[in-house]
Symmetry: C2
Subunit: 302 residues, 2 copies
Amino acid sequence: MSVVVYEVGPRDGLQNEPASVPLVAKIAFVDALSDAGLPIIEVGSFVSAARVPAMADSGDVFAGIRRRSGTRYAALVPNLAGLDRAVAAKADLIAVFAAASETFSQRNINHTIAESLDIHGGVVASARAAGLGARGYLSTAFGCPFEGDVPIPRVVQLTQQLLDLGVYEVAISDTIGVAHPDQVRRVLDALLAVAPVDKLAVHFHDTRGMAIANVVAALQMGVRTIDSSAGGLGGCPYAPGATGNLATEDLLYLLSGFGYATGVTAPRVADASLALEPVLGHPLPSRALQAEAAARRRAGVT
Amino acid sequence: MSVVVYEVGPRDGLQNEPASVPLVAKIAFVDALSDAGLPIIEVGSFVSAARVPAMADSGDVFAGIRRRSGTRYAALVPNLAGLDRAVAAKADLIAVFAAASETFSQRNINHTIAESLDIHGGVVASARAAGLGARGYLSTAFGCPFEGDVPIPRVVQLTQQLLDLGVYEVAISDTIGVAHPDQVRRVLDALLAVAPVDKLAVHFHDTRGMAIANVVAALQMGVRTIDSSAGGLGGCPYAPGATGNLATEDLLYLLSGFGYATGVTAPRVADASLALEPVLGHPLPSRALQAEAAARRRAGVT
């Protein structure tokens, strides 16, 4: 009984941090996550440096990290130019992203959903031809900041379209952290009518404190790939509009209690997160991380 | 389909805050929670002022608050002297507390478990004679900071003993925030063999981020009284040994999504919490509260 923890901290986490993180700290972070035994790490993003400056050095991060044999290293790519950079960086996997909300798609990536699927089709085909696996993200699958509710049939249809493009899985993503466990159950129930469960992953943000309960709902529906971010990186809980990711440490505490094997060593993930705190200049929001940090202080272990 | 939210912020929350909170702010906090429609508010504690200085003015808080007709006001009492003060304060309910761990009992309240049950027996009988309902807390029911694991049969036996004393319900309490949803299921499954579900409440701390998932597990087992603390008051997540309570705002988001009626107006609970932040000098840890606060800032509502 095992679960794949898909670590998004270096990409979805750092991308949303206000602090500028030096290249050497990013490389050390990914290396520490590799040492923790994480099976997949999303290292960076080959998007426009002008649009996402925090990811401008993703090529250098890929060039600097140690590759652990049990870990695959992924990159987010928006188009064929990004794919070229991912191939040059020797990424093992790429990820493409589509939105379930038309307004979000147009405001976030400046394409209609249909346009973005056209682009992704070419990217996924080329990636597979180059020997790279491709994952799809379906963002705003549980709600949109502009449109509010997102109809479940649309989520089902877009997931099907992404799978038809040849992605090996779709991460059903709660971009703004509004998902509720009962909604997770309903969305997955509808998706399982068109897709086998091993083609589905879930990606939650803990904006309203529901992320762990949403994971439980997804596990109960059979999903076995869960995205998380070391330390809950990706939004200080006290910042305006904070949208911190589900924390890897909290996820591991949950999975361990259910008896799922992950191959990940939780205290080593905490090491990775704690080393980043002084770089970011603030504590990370993961509850389990902070409980671990408090226990280390009491024990006199720094 | 309804759930009783048992608000513990003014007692279990404020008792664990390092800042000294002025009487007038405590009264305003309880009044704001009454305005939110909470059905039960634990206002304070009639314990030794030397042991718990933060609760020394509980009598004055009771004297200063407005009583809303739909709300009952509870006080924690350790002994008959405390009960006298609760009666004088016109509390509607009292709560007594026993530990499921012998070491915790002796270190925390300086009595063996058996001694504490003897004392509670007298307190509960006298309370009922005075027309006050009495609740029991069973602390460390999911783990002890000194003994580690707590055997489930001991939790069952002590819950039975508390019920036999005449309490109307027992709050099965995760004092140190180690409980896991699967453990919640197993503990409640054992308890339901000896007690009807309407005699059971649950009390979780979010120390490792599991509180909301633990609530889902308890709801699935039929429990319909859940303790929570406005704002997650009772431990800054970044303080050493932090043990913040489950946040009322997060709980309400969860319950609303499942369609449970509570009679509580969530934005008014947020008002109560946000008014307390400047008094405490730090943001409160509730994720849903901070999401609400961010939305208010964006909308220009202060």
